[in-house]
C-alpha cells in the first residue's frame, strides 16, 4: 500500500485552476522528485497535502486514512513535515530553541508546573535540550546552537529548517526547493545530507527542486507538473528523454529543433 496517495486532486482559486486533476502515489521509503516550470503548482500541491489549503476536489490518502480537509495541526501529528521554499524559521529564537520549540509535544508538563517552574519542568526541559542537540548534530549545526536563527548564513538556515522538520519525527518529509540558491559544492553536501537522514530516520521524501543534478542524483522516480496538471511520471531516464518535458521547460521551438 502506498504511504501517500493523491487521487484526482484539484484546487481552484477564484477562476484560476492551480492544480488540476493530479494523481500520484508514493510508496514507503521512496524518494520522488516533483518538478515543473515556475508557477506549475508544485508548492500548491505541498500546501494541499499539509492542509494549508483544502482541495476543491479529489482525495489525499495518507497511511490509508483520508486526510483531505483536515487541519494542518492534525496532519503534522499524523506524520507529515515540510520545509519551505522561502525559509521560514523562528528568526529571533536561537538555533537550539528553534528545535526545542517544535519538540513541545514531548514536554509533558502542564501549565501549573510551567508557571511554578517545578523540578519536573527543569528536568524535562533539560531532556528536550539534549534531544534538540541530537537533531542539530545530524545536520551539523552544533557549533551554532546559541546563534540567533536569522544570523546564520543561508545554507545553514536551510539545514536548520531540515533539522526542525526532522524533530517532528515525520514519516513523510516534504522538501520545497532545498537546494535553492546553493552552489554546486553546497548541493553535493545537501545530497549527502538528504541520503543520510532518509536512511537514519526511515523517511519517505517528496522533493520539489529546480536543480536537475540534485533531482537526478536523489530521485529514482520523478513526477512532472505543468500548468497545474501532471504532465508525466516515470524514471529519470524517461523524464530526461520525454519531448513533452523539454517542451514544458524550454518552449515550443526547441522540440522541433
Amino acid at each position: 500500500m502506498a504511504l501517500i496517495e493523491l487521487k484526482n486532486v484539484t484546487k481552484v482559486f477564484g477562476g484560476i485552476v492551480a492544480v488540476k486533476n493530479v494523481s500520484f502515489s508514493v510508496e514507503k521509503d521512496e524518494i520522488i522528485g516533483l518538478i515543473g516550470p515556475n508557477g506549475a503548482g508544485k508548492t500548491t500541491i505541498f500546501n494541499l497535502i499539509t492542509g494549508v489549503y483544502d482541495a476543491t476536489e479529489g482525495k489525499i490518502i495518507f497511511q490509508g486514512r483520508d486526510i483531505t480537509g483536515e487541519n494542518p495541526v492534525t496532519i503534522v501529528k499524523s506524520g507529515i513535515a515540510r520545509t519551505f521554499q522561502n525559509i521560514r524559521l523562528f528568526n529571533k529564537l536561537s538555533v537550539l530553541e528553534n528545535i526545542r520549540t517544535v519538540l513541545f509535544r514531548k514536554a509533558d508538563y502542564n501549565l501549573a508546573n510551567a508557571l511554578l517552574r517545578t523540578p519536573k519542568v527543569v528536568r524535562i526541559e533539560k531532556k528536550l535540550c539534549d534531544k534538540s542537540l541530537e537533531f542539530l548534530e545530524v545536520v551539523g549545526l552544533t557549533d551554532y546552537i546559541n546563534n540567533r536563527a536569522d544570523s546564520l548564513p543561508y545554507g545553514l538556515q536551510r539545514k536548520l529548517e531540515i533539522a526542525r522538520a526532522l524533530a517532528l519525527e515525520p514519516k513523510l518529509l516534504l522538501l520545497d526547493e532545498p537546494a535553492a540558491g546553493m552552489n554546486p559544492d553546497e548541493c553535493l553536501d545537501l545530497i549527502e545530507l538528504i541520503t543520510r537522514i532518509k536512511k537514519e530516520y526511515n523517511l519517505t521524501i517528496i522533493m520539489i527542486e529546480h536543480h536537475m543534478d540534485v533531482v537526478m542524483e536523489l530521485c529514482p522516480r520523478i513526477v512532472v507538473i505543468n500548468f497545474g496538471e501532471k504532465l508525466m511520471e516515470g524514471s529519470k531516464e524517461e523524464v530526461q528523454n520525454d519531448p513533452r518535458v523539454l517542451k514544458a521547460y524550454l518552449g515550443e521551438e526547441y522540440s522541433y529543433a
Binding site: V52, P72, V76, F90, N91, K92, L93, T101, Y109
Partner: protein, 294 residues
C-alpha cells in the same frame, strides 16, 4: 515620602498589567488597544465583592482575575478563531474596550458614571510589590516554558508554527487569557489602592499606555516593559511642577525611544545582573578609552 511611595505602588500595579500584556503583545505578537477594559473588569469585580459583600481581599482579587479571564474568552473566541490579525484585531479590542466602559457606566451595581467611592484600602505598598514580583516570576517561568516558546514561534512565523503542529488559536487564546487575568489582578489592586473607581479611569488612554509601554520596552522582553512603565509614570510625576509639559514629556520619551532604540528599550533581551555588569564594564572601558585619546 508618602508621595514617592505612592508613585512606586502605582508603578508596581501597572507593571502587573503591562507584564501580562507583554506576553500577549510582545511575545505572541498581537496588538490590543482594549486591555484597560480587563483592568476595569478586575477592578469592579473585586471592589463590588469587598464593598457590598465584605469578601476577603484575596478572594476578591482572584474573582476579579477569573472574571477578566472569562470575559477575555468571549472576546477571543470569535476574533482569534477567525484569525484576525494585526490592525483588524487591534480595532476589535478597541471596540471591546469602549463597549465594556459603556456597560459599566450603565449598570446599577457599578453605580454608573458616579463610580464606587469608599472602597477599603487593602493595597499597601508591600502588597503591591509582592504581587508585582510574583507576576514577574510567574511570567518569566511562563515564557521559558514550552508555552512561551510556542507563543514566540507564533509571533515569529505563524505559518511555520502551524506546520510544526502548534495550534495557533490555542496559543493566542492562552496568551490573551493570561494577559487579561494579569490586567484583572492589576485592576483589583488598583481599586483597593485608590479607594475609588469610576469607568472613566479605564478609557483607551490607559489601554494605549499599556500597549506603548510594551512596544517601547521591547517586544520580546519582560524587563523592558517594566522599565518603560516606570518611565511613563515617574517622568510625568517628576514634571508635576511644570504641569503643562507633562504630556509633552510622555510624547518625548516615545519619540526618543523610536529614534534611539527602535526595537524597544531592551529589544529582545532581558535585564539581568549579568547584563548590568556588562554595561558597567562597557561604560568604564569607554571612559578609559576616552582618556587615552586625550
Amino acid at each position: 515620602m508618602d508621595y514617592i511611595l505612592g508613585v512606586i505602588a502605582v508603578i508596581c500595579i501597572e507593571t502587573i498589567a503591562t507584564v501580562g500584556l507583554a506576553v500577549f503583545t510582545g511575545f505572541t505578537g498581537l496588538f490590543s488597544l482594549g486591555h484597560a477594559a480587563f483592568m476595569a473588569i478586575g477592578a469592579y469585580t473585586a471592589a463590588i465583592l469587598t464593598y457590598f459583600y465584605n469578601a476577603p481581599f484575596i478572594l476578591a482579587l482572584i474573582a476579579g482575575m477569573i472574571m477578566s479571564g472569562l470575559i477575555s474568552i468571549i472576546l477571543g473566541f470569535p476574533t482569534l478563531r477567525a484569525k484576525l490579525r494585526g490592525d483588524y484585531f487591534a480595532i476589535a479590542t478597541l471596540g471591546f474596550g469602549e463597549a465594556i466602559r459603556v456597560i459599566l457606566e450603565n449598570m446599577s451595581i457599578t453605580q454608573g458614571a458616579r463610580g464606587l467611592p469608599g472602597i477599603k484600602h487593602y493595597t499597601t505598598l508591600p502588597v503591591a510589590i509582592f504581587f508585582a514580583v510574583l507576576v514577574l516570576w510567574l511570567t518569566k517561568n511562563f515564557i521559558w516554558s514550552k508555552y512561551g516558546r510556542n507563543a514566540i514561534a507564533v509571533r515569529e512565523d505563524a505559518v511555520a508554527a502551524e506546520m510544526a503542529g502548534i495550534d495557533l488559536f490555542k496559543v493566542r487564546m492562552l496568551s490573551l487569557i493570561y494577559s487579561a487575568m494579569c490586567a484583572g489582578l492589576a485592576g483589583g489592586l488598583f481599586a483597593h489602592y485608590l479607594n475609588f473607581i469610576q469607568p472613566v479611569m479605564f478609557t483607551s488612554i490607559l489601554s494605549t499606555r499599556l500597549t506603548s509601554a510594551v512596544v517601547a520596552g521591547g517586544m520580546g522582553s519582560i524587563t523592558g516593559p517594566v522599565i518603560a512603565v516606570a518611565l511613563f509614570i515617574a517622568v510625568p510625576e517628576l514634571l508635576r511642577v511644570a504641569n503643562m509639559w507633562r504630556l509633552v514629556a510622555y510624547g518625548l520619551i516615545l519619540v526618543l525611544i523610536m529614534i534611539y532604540r527602535p526595537s524597544g528599550i531592551m529589544g529582545y533581551h532581558e535585564l539581568s545582573f549579568e547584563a548590568i555588569k556588562n554595561l558597567l564594564r562597557w561604560i568604564s572601558r569607554g571612559k578609559t578609552a576616552g582618556r587615552k585619546e586625550m
